[in-house]
């Protein structure tokens, strides 16, 4: 009798994945907070990793009826090296250490419970419930790109696609199958002929058999070497391929009225947008455009950290963006997103121009345009002009006001809240 040995290594690996996601769901509040802290420490493109997260141990402790400290208890320990019956010993300070009375297990639950979120879990939590407006519609319903992939073989097609190996294999099979009855009969007749020639030459049967053999040979040679029926063609089909690249424009006002803290707020917002897009597209380019009275394209470092002074003409940035789009990002292969941050200051007669630019040339090209106004004051003229776009371009244009850093995340969620189709 041999024992039953079952190799389970190929079985489902992640039996605990449900429990794991339940855990994350259950403590999503604490975890989300920890994730938000982690985001603050990261660079804008630095998202390709999971995150080690700590949440307070006491929150996740499972309570039971247990004994607390105090009362009388008698505990046996091993390794006596100095005590005699009746000795008195000072209490150790924290319940642990030498001669301790039961290093308390209750203490264990009070540390932070630290664990590692995978990259996907990390981002899932971060983008929980978020989706770009119309994302599903645009990404899946309107498909511009197709890819041709192999899909087996068919019996019809164009000559260039004939698959020789398959065709010849089929032909050989057919020849064997169709010729089999003749071959069997031939073998029998040849054996018979052999026997007759050896045993009784001159038998008229020999002649008959020879004739039959000849006729069978002719028939089996008449089986066509290749038949239209054998032809096989390599098949290719078109499958839709969603566009996998996006470009994100970051537009920011760097005029004198935008101070460092306002820029930091804007930076966080751009970061979030970048993270979000990275989750949805394989390849993302980021274009930074800053402007005061004139706009220029800069790198990330300059975008956030150099400081200009002077007035503000927002339309300059929009014009530059439009030029860049036309020159570098033809709109069918690129998904274009734009986030604009400003404190709302603009020259009065420029704001209507901005609105016209947006509605006439930019909004038709982009997937989404988000405008955030970093200010604690009254709405400025740019805001008022932009407000008129919200109604005329629902789902395409959104705007929000941010007062301080803590507002970013809620605002971000508000902007990209999942909309029911």
């Amino acid at each position: 009798m041999t024992v039953r040995i079952v190799d389970r290594r190929q079985d489902s690996k992640n039996k605990s994945s449900i429990n794991r996601s339940r855990f994350i769901q259950r403590f999503s509040g604490q975890i989300r907070k920890a994730v938000a802290d982690a985001i603050a420490r990261r660079g804008i493109r630095d998202i390709d990793s999971g995150e080690k997260i700590g949440i307070p141990g006491k929150d996740i402790n499972e309570p039971h009826f247990r004994h607390g400290q105090g009362g009388v208890r008698e505990i046996v320990h091993p390794g006596n090296d100095r005590f005699n019956t009746g000795d008195s010993v000072d209490r150790p300070l924290d319940g642990s250490g030498q001669g301790a009375g039961g290093a308390s297990q209750d203490g264990e639950g009070m540390d932070d419970f630290v664990f590692t979120l995978t990259r996907d879990e990390f981002l899932d939590i971060f983008f929980d419930e978020l989706a770009l407006p119309n994302l599903v519609k645009r990404q899946l319903a309107r498909i511009d790109e197709y890819k041709r992939v192999r899909a087996g073989y068919t019996q019809s097609g164009v000559p260039t696609n004939i698959n020789l190996v398959r065709t010849m294999r089929g032909a050989a099979g057919r020849r064997i199958a169709v010729g089999a009855p003749f071959a069997t009969r031939l073998r029998e007749l040849r054996a018979e002929l052999e026997r007759l020639r050896r045993d009784c030459p001159g038998d008229p049967e020999i002649l008959r058999i020879e004739r039959e053999i000849a006729s069978l040979n002719a028939r089996s040679e008449a089986i066509p070497f290749i038949d239209p029926f054998d032809l096989r063609y390599s098949n290719r089909i078109r499958i839709a391929q969603p566009t996998t690249q996006a470009v994100m424009f970051c537009l920011m006002d760097v005029s004198g009225s935008m101070d460092e803290s306002k820029k930091q707020i804007a930076k966080r917002f751009f970061m979030l947008l970048y993270l979000f897009l990275n989750r949805n597209y394989e390849h993302i380019e980021v274009v930074f455009i800053r402007h005061h009275t004139v706009a220029e394209e800069v790198d990330e470092e300059n975008f956030f950290h150099s400081r200009e002074t002077g007035g503000t003409i927002v339309s300059s940035a929009l014009k530059l963006m439009h030029e860049i789009v036309v020159a570098r990002y033809a709109s069918t292969t690129w998904n274009i997103y734009c986030a604009q941050a400003s404190d709302g200051d603009n020259w009065n007669d420029d704001s209507p121009l901005c609105r016209e630019l947006l509605s006439a040339s930019i909004l038709p090209l982009v997937q989404y345009f988000a405008y955030i106004e970093v200010t604690d004051g009254e709405p400025q003229n740019l805001w008022l002009e932009y407000e008129r776009l919200v109604d005329s371009h629902p789902g395409l244009f959104a705007m929000q006001r941010i007062n301080e850093v803590a507002d970013i995340y809620p605002v971000f969620r508000e902007l990209f809240r999942k909309r029911l189709a």
């Binding site: 039953r4 009388v72 010993v89």
Partner: protein, 508 residues
């Protein structure tokens, strides 16, 4: 030893299925020669990741889903990945057939060790020990777990996952007070369980409703003081009481309480026999493998690797060590069983005085008797010998919060032996490790509040989590719950109360 027989079972450290098979056959042969009575067993080879999965589900192959298992998983994974802990070499399941897991990372030697330890050691203990025989149904447990998982999954679909989670949370909080200590649970199979569950649903609901009937009673004239107490007798199985009597629960909620209770009951014997069970398994892997070595079937390399692991497992660090975290059940158990064998085979004068009934007896018979009829508490009380106390250099510390200092109550000397043995046995008494809390009274006529009473043992108070547990209890009971402590002198004082005027219906 003749040269002919010294052909080892296998060489090298890489395991193969054939080598495992041969080892199992040889170990099984020796185990049979020693008279070990085991369930059939099945060896399953798993990866480290699957081992962590198994950890999270307390080793069971099927289990219902709950966030707390996810927490255990993350904890294990995190510690394992940072190298703070190794995984256990083995997990074995008390079922028929008994399932033992072998981890693929282990060497051939370790696989043989695990087979001897789990598939023969633990397995025979599960089959023989009276607690397991009485409390668990090895042939039905997997079926029951399948039933439990499916049932809870169905409830999640039907009543929403949040409602089920809240309920299971509450049950887990009370799970250590959800076991019967004195009554036996019946055997059931999957089909029977499903069938019975339907009947139970209808019947239970009818019972409860009757208890809380609001129709005017015929005998309204009966005087207040004649109203019988409810429950008649205090009930120590809190979950059982809730399942049968909580007024507002839906039938499916009662069933889930029952499931948690049943599974808790299944694990209860394991908690009661840790020292014995682990010691037994260690003793047998040690004995079986040594026997094979004596027969010349194992190489020296095998023995060295095996002994190294074995020694690590049964090492008892002294209290001064920074590794010290209480008495190692493997060490104590292994030493106890070895000592019993020694007392049987080579008793000295002291043994004859302390253990007149077993000194010089047949060790296999003595072992069998001890394995079948004891639990940790009684096992230590019965078999801990003075020699072993000296070997472990045991000493007992009295921690009384009324005294300014700790006192060394007994050490390993002539006057101390009995006291030491008594207090070590008491340490393994689950009855005093868990607080003694019973359902004391339900105010049937008034606000339906539930009163628990904690019987204080050695003046030990309840821990700081009490209020949170009470909250869970209140969600189950649906009305006010409170807990009071009765001190040894009979005085009673309320410790905590959770007011719950009128709970919203559980389905909302």
């Amino acid at each position: 030893m003749s040269k002919k027989r010294t052909r080892p079972i296998a060489e090298g450290s890489e395991w193969t299925v054939e080598a495992i098979d041969r080892y199992d056959a040889e170990i099984g042969r020796v185990a049979k020669a020693y008279g070990l009575d085991c369930y059939r067993h099945q060896l399953e080879i798993i990866t480290a990741e699957q081992m962590m999965d198994a950890y999270a589900a307390i080793g069971m192959p099927v289990y219902y889903h709950h966030w707390s298992f996810g927490k255990h998983f993350l904890e294990t994974e995190n510690r394992y990945k940072r190298g703070q802990m190794g995984l256990a070499y083995e997990i074995v399941i008390n079922s028929d057939p008994c399932i033992a897991y072998l981890m693929e990372e282990n060497t051939l030697t370790m696989q043989a060790l695990v087979i001897a330890h789990a598939a023969y050691g633990h397995n025979s203990f599960f089959k023989g020990n009276h607690l397991f025989k009485q409390w668990t149904s090895a042939d039905a447990i997997i079926d029951y777990l399948v039933f439990a998982r499916n049932y809870i999954a169905q409830c999640e679909e039907r009543h929403g996952f949040a409602a089920v989670e809240q309920l299971v949370d509450a049950c887990h909080a009370l799970s250590n007070l959800g076991v019967d200590r004195y009554k036996r649970s019946p055997h059931l199979s999957l089909e029977k369980e499903t069938l019975r569950q339907k009947e139970r649903e209808i019947y239970l609901q009818a019972q409860v409703n009757d208890l809380w009937r609001t129709l005017p009673r015929q005998d309204a004239a009966v005087a207040e003081q004649d109203e019988p107490r409810f429950p008649r007798e205090p009930e120590e199985n809190l979950l059982y009481f809730i399942e049968k009597n909580a007024p507002l629960l839906e039938p499916w909620q009662r069933e889930i309480i029952r499931i948690v209770r049943k599974i808790g009951q299944y694990f209860y014997p394991q908690r009661q026999t840790q020292v014995m069970n682990e010691g037994w398994a260690c003793f047998w892997h040690y004995t079986l493998l040594n026997t094979l070595y004596d027969e010349g079937k194992l190489t020296d390399g095998f023995m060295i690797e095996f002994l190294q692991s074995h020694t690590n497992v049964v090492y008892q660090p002294p209290y001064t060590s920074k590794w010290y975290s209480g008495i190692n059940p493997y060490a104590l158990g292994f030493a106890l069983w070895r000592d019993i064998r020694r007392i049987c085979e080579a008793p000295d004068a002291e043994d004859r005085e302390w253990f007149p009934d077993i000194a010089g007896s047949d060790w296999r018979e003595t072992f069998d008797f001890a394995m079948r009829n004891f639990k940790d508490e009684s096992f230590v009380a019965q078999y801990l010998s003075p020699r072993l106390m000296r070997e472990f250099r045991l000493f007992s510390i009295l921690d009384d919060d009324a005294l300014p200092k700790l006192r060394v109550d007994a050490i390993h000397d002539e006057q101390g032996y009995r006291a030491l043995r008594r207090s070590l046995a008491e340490q393994y008494n689950l009855g005093s490790a868990d607080p003694d809390i019973q359902v004391w009274n339900v105010d049937l006529r008034g606000d339906r509040s539930l009163t628990l009473r904690h019987f204080s043992h050695q003046r030990r108070p309840l821990g700081p989590e009490t209020e949170r547990v009470l909250e869970h209890l209140a969600t189950l009971w649906g009305f006010t719950v409170r807990i009071e402590t009765q001190m040894p002198d009979g005085s009673v004082k309320q410790i905590a109360e959770h007011r719950n005027e009128r709970r919203s219906r559980p389905s909302t």
